[in-house]
Symmetry: C2
Subunit: 221 residues, 2 copies
């Protein structure tokens, strides 16, 4: 009985890890779409959403079924409820990748990004995808050192986001209001994507140690 139970716990962790990987891939694809004005890549992210929603639903049901049938206690209980919250984070992360893709699709065949902010998004995209892969590793290995590392990487995105807003608000910005609005929102989407990856790391540390890391600070934006 316990063996089946532990197999199902492992299966749940595997599902979450797979979803982290797919969510990283969605943001990688959305970033490529953004940097290269690649409408096919944007459409791919948007089309994949339903399939990923079904996988998330399945993971959530697995967690509920473990709670209902096995009546876990203490640490395991927190771990399984934590899994349901991780699914919610992954849902938001995927929605944010879709937001990026939809901006690309709406502006096609034009490039959304003026050359001077391309490197910001290349860097934010790289860091965001890396964070999602770190979350995947933490979910699989419960490595609490890695969870702390996630947090450090998140600081890099926050710094890039600040620089981006400074660039937009500079009097020398020559690309108009409409472009600035798109870029401000895009910056926000990457920053929130990263925050959710940090949150996944935070939950795993919570489950592994019973203690919460300090709450994420609420940034200026």
């Amino acid at each position: 009985m316990r063996t089946v139970y532990h197999e199902r716990l492992t299966d749940l962790a595997d599902q979450l890890a797979r979803l982290c990987g797919l969510t990283a891939a969605a943001m990688e694809c959305a970033t490529r779409a953004l940097l290269q004005a690649d409408a096919a890549a944007a459409q791919q992210v948007i089309s994949d959403h339903d399939h990923m929603a079904a996988l998330r639903k399945h993971a959530e049901e697995s967690a509920f079924s473990l709670l209902a049938l096995q009546q876990p206690v203490a640490g395991e209980l927190r771990s399984i409820v934590g899994s349901i919250q991780v699914v919610a984070d992954l849902d938001r992360m995927d929605a944010l990748a879709v937001h990026v893709a939809k901006i690309v699709r709406r502006r096609q065949p034009d490039h959304v990004l003026p050359t001077e902010v391309e490197h910001h998004f290349a860097e934010m995209g790289r860091a965001a995808v890396e964070l999602a892969h770190c979350a995947q590793e933490v979910v699989m290995t419960r490595n609490t050192d890695m969870a702390a590392h996630i947090r450090e990487q998140d600081d890099e995105i926050d710094e890039l986001h600040r620089q981006l807003l400074t660039t937009l608000m500079d009097r020398d910005w020559k690309h108009g209001v409409s472009s600035a609005v798109d870029i401000a929102l895009l910056g926000r989407f990457y920053e929130r994507f990263a925050d959710h990856a940090v949150e996944i790391g935070r939950r795993v540390v919570f489950e592994a140690t019973g203690a919460l890391l300090p709450e994420q600070e609420i940034g200026t934006y």
Copy 2:
């Protein structure tokens, strides 16, 4: 034993309802700060954050304790796990009110909003606060009709948000890029606040009927 259990379930619902009310009040205060460039109101929202975080933590612990000690089944299990997810929604809603307040504080003593978009934010603020009060009512009464009503009101905010973006992107916008960036992000904060209130309604319907309403669509932004 069951009586104590049901008292604790009722207590949990009361805690959530109170938090919904406080979260509505936070957004009401943030909106007043925004419309009147009221720095004291902005500071109030920011200062209240820690106290509200402590109340949320307490509600979450009440839910975990019910799960661990009472081993609820089926509907009650979903309801209690749903409570933990409601706490997470309320956490984001409060963070969004704080975001609004921080923009006001950063721009003081200037007004953030040009006159021509003030009514957008007055309306979005009113609708957002009303949605949070609806969520409070749903949490208390489990009235599934009200949950559907929340959704309709959310459409109003989405429409106001679309109009706002159209206004910003209009060639006649005369208030510069920096102002447009602030306003675009503010619009996003109100829209997300509303989405979380809708999500609370969705969860309660899920708990009451065992069926999920259709997922919220991912909008253009």
